[in-house]
């Protein structure tokens, strides 16, 4: 098994898929010779040439719209939005077009494409390089939404996304890119879309998370075990749409308490969907209020490090929220 960080895992997934399937191409801003502003596509341009690894102008609408056209034509484009914060000019293409063409054509057209987007704060990116905007897309029927938190999942899920017949929004938390290395299975290992993972077993409460919050929740769980004797079960959702409600409900049935954690703001956020699902489906099993720990109600992450720290959710805040819930 190779030890990779998330960025290397993502690069490796694209490389293997491009090698395996000549219909796979990569397009986006600076993805070619430079290899992407984060280095996710490094080496691909030299290996596959400047058509299959295509630098686009600064045109997010085009990146999404042309990816859709290419997918209609039979290719499997992997489009990169340089930052999730810059996806909005492409919103029309993603929401009006990419998510709907299969339905509106009664199944005649399909658009197997992936839109990769670095999201999330904690890297001094301020308002426009830190956003967690997944809920715009999780509420859009027709899209699949994936947000891995480990190198193995990043690689396996990206491979699954590229092979998927539907459009997949692939959220990569930029703080996790080089945060740690972990084992990634060798060979052609695909992690299925739509399956959550119990990252840590526990009996006292369940923490539902994804992306960078997985790392934070696991650290929090260790603190809770050590200092409080509380065993938290950490469920990494990995895929936000379609949501693995089975794993969520099984965990709630076991612990009776649910803490939902995400970096995006709370109001109307993805956590509300999980909370509502638990309230509707597992009411009888609950032994405390479904609790959400989410980003503050400000438009985006402010810049100064003190302000950013104030914004970000880390292990300490998860511990605090979990303690309160555990004591309920």
């Amino acid at each position: 098994m190779a030890q990779l960080n998330i960025l290397e895992a993502i690069r490796s997934a694209m490389d293997e898929e491009m090698e395996r399937d000549e219909r796979v191409m990569v397009l986006g801003e600076d993805v070619g010779r430079k290899g992407g502003v984060f280095g996710a596509t490094e080496g691909l341009w030299a290996k596959y040439g400047d058509k299959r690894v295509l630098d686009t102008p600064l045109t997010e609408g085009l990146i999404a719209g042309a990816a859709m056209g290419a997918a209609v034509y039979g290719l499997r484009p992997v489009a990169e939005m340089q930052f999730a914060d810059f996806v909005y000019p492409a919103f029309n293409q993603i929401v009006s077009e990419i998510s709907r063409i299969h339905y509106r054509s009664n199944g005649a057209f399909r658009v197997p494409l992936v839109i990769r987007m670095p999201y999330g704060g904690g890297v001094h990116g301020a308002l426009y390089h830190s956003q967690s905007n997944e809920s715009y897309f999780t509420s859009t029927v027709g899209l699949k939404v994936v947000a891995p938190g480990t190198p193995a999942d990043a690689k396996g899920l990206l491979k699954a996304a590229i092979r998927d017949e539907d459009p997949v929004m692939f959220f990569e938390h930029k703080k996790t890119y080089r945060l740690f290395k972990a084992e990634v299975p060798d060979g052609d290992t695909v992690v299925p879309i739509g399956k959550a993972q119990v990252a840590r077993e526990g009996e006292h409460l369940s923490i539902f998370c994804y992306g960078f919050m997985r790392t934070c929740a696991l650290e929090a769980a260790e603190t809770l075990a050590r200092e409080d004797g509380v065993e938290a079960e950490v469920v990494d959702l990995r895929t936000l749409r379609p949501l693995d409600t089975e794993t969520i409900l099984a965990s709630v049935a076991k612990t009776g308490k649910a803490l939902v954690v995400h970096e995006a703001n709370r109001f109307g956020g993805f956590g509300a969907e999980i909370a509502a699902t638990i309230a509707e489906e597992a009411f009888e099993q609950l032994d405390g209020p479904v609790t959400r720990l989410a980003g503050p109600e400000v438009p985006a992450v402010p810049y100064h490090h003190a302000l950013e720290e104030w914004f970000m959710i880390g292990p300490a805040r998860i511990v605090a929220a979990a303690r309160e819930l555990a004591a309920y």
């Binding site: 299959r52 295509l54 102008p57 999404a64 859709m68 009664n106």
Partner: protein, 364 residues
């Protein structure tokens, strides 16, 4: 001028006119075929207005006045091979691309087996995978990026495939059009942009829409030819489109064609253009109707006779009657089916076995 001189001149002019389509490599059958396609598109369009008035169709957005530019620009495209991303007035070019009268009427009646959407989309949202005609949505201009994406796909793979897209002059102002044309120009993609300029974006006239008054002039900024053509001159439109098609196939890149056409009807069945156009202006449009104009040209060249005209019109009428009857007899969509085809069918084996998506020429 003597009488004989005059006769000679008339005869010269006939020879010259006749030579026009022949010089383009079009046979008499070709131009009659184009004329018939225009007649058929118009007849289907008119029939659907009647059906709308009769309460059978909820909404119509018409292509009347655009048929010449549409049939002619789509004519050089290779059916079942080249691609088209149409817009909501593209009835005549969608039909030139392969949609039948029955397909069009079935779609407008929103029947369950409509090839465009199975009754899911409003009228005027042309599309058909079997015809390489990309399904259209309603926010204007989005399809132009899809055309560029298809052209990009062909370019990446090295396929000899040309993509055409159509849009109005109002849509030409959308940011996505700028993104599309710039990108196509950068990489010399095999795509043809056809702007059908009818002078109005619903109610707002050209001078409030297009700075400088010309869409084709923008081609220069994108490194592509911007061709201004009289959209009522069918052969001129054909020549422009054919040159653009050949240019694309030679690897020389995209072309922007601005065809000046007339919108003979209101914007849609929900609009009344008398509220913003003078009666004289609306009346004068009829003189620019491309159908009688092309008929006159074909008569002048001797290709079209009364007999042929009668035959074509009878054929078209019968075709539309039959198409309407068959379309009306089709099944309505089933609400129990409305949940289906939201996502593509899961792949056996959980996503590891990838069936090859068909490429052009491999069927759909």
């Amino acid at each position: 001028m003597t009488l004989s001189e005059k006769e000679e001149q008339v005869s010269d002019s006939k020879t010259t006119t006749r030579a026009r389509h022949q010089e383009m490599g079009l046979s008499d059958d070709d131009v009659l075929g184009m004329y018939r396609a225009m007649l058929l598109a118009r007849a289907v369009d008119e029939r659907m207005w009647l059906m709308q008035r009769a309460g059978k169709i909820a909404f119509i957005i018409s292509g009347q006045g655009h048929e010449g530019a549409q049939v002619a620009s789509a004519w050089p495209m290779r059916k079942g091979h080249d691609w088209m991303a149409p817009y909501y007035r593209s009835i005549a070019s969608a039909m030139t691309f392969g949609m039948t009268a029955e397909d069009i009427i079935t779609a407008h009646l929103a029947k369950g087996d409509d090839v465009s959407s199975g009754g899911r989309q409003m009228p005027g949202h042309y599309g058909g995978a079997r015809y390489n005609l990309v399904s259209l949505s309603s926010p204007v201009g989005t399809q132009v990026l899809h055309a560029v994406g298809i052209a990009m796909g062909a370019w990446v793979r090295g396929d000899d495939v040309v993509t055409m897209t159509q849009f109005g002059e109002g849509t030409a102002n959308q940011g996505e059009i700028h993104e599309a044309m710039n990108f196509a120009g950068v990489h010399k993609l095999p795509v043809i942009f056809v702007c059908e300029n009818n002078g109005y974006a619903i109610s707002v006239p050209l001078d409030r829409q297009v700075a400088g008054g010309s869409v084709s002039a923008r081609g220069a900024g994108y490194g592509m030819p911007g061709i201004d053509v009289d959209g009522g001159d069918v052969l001129a439109c054909y020549a422009a489109a054919r040159e653009a098609h050949e240019r694309a196939r030679r690897g020389e890149g995209p072309t922007l064609i601005e065809a000046h056409v007339v919108r003979l009807t209101s914007h849609s069945s929900d609009d009344d253009q008398r509220r913003y156009r003078d009666p004289g202006e609306v009346e004068a449009l009829k003189e620019r109707d491309p159908i009688p104009r092309f008929a006159n040209e074909l008569r002048d060249t001797g290709v079209l006779t009364d007999e042929i005209e009668e035959r074509l019109r009878a054929e078209v009428k019968a075709e539309v009657n039959e198409a309407s009857q068959r379309a009306e007899a089709r099944r309505d969509p089933d609400p129990n089916d409305a949940h289906e085809r939201v996502y593509a069918e899961p792949i056996p084996g959980g996503g590891t076995a990838v069936p090859l998506a068909p490429l052009p020429g491999e069927g759909h």
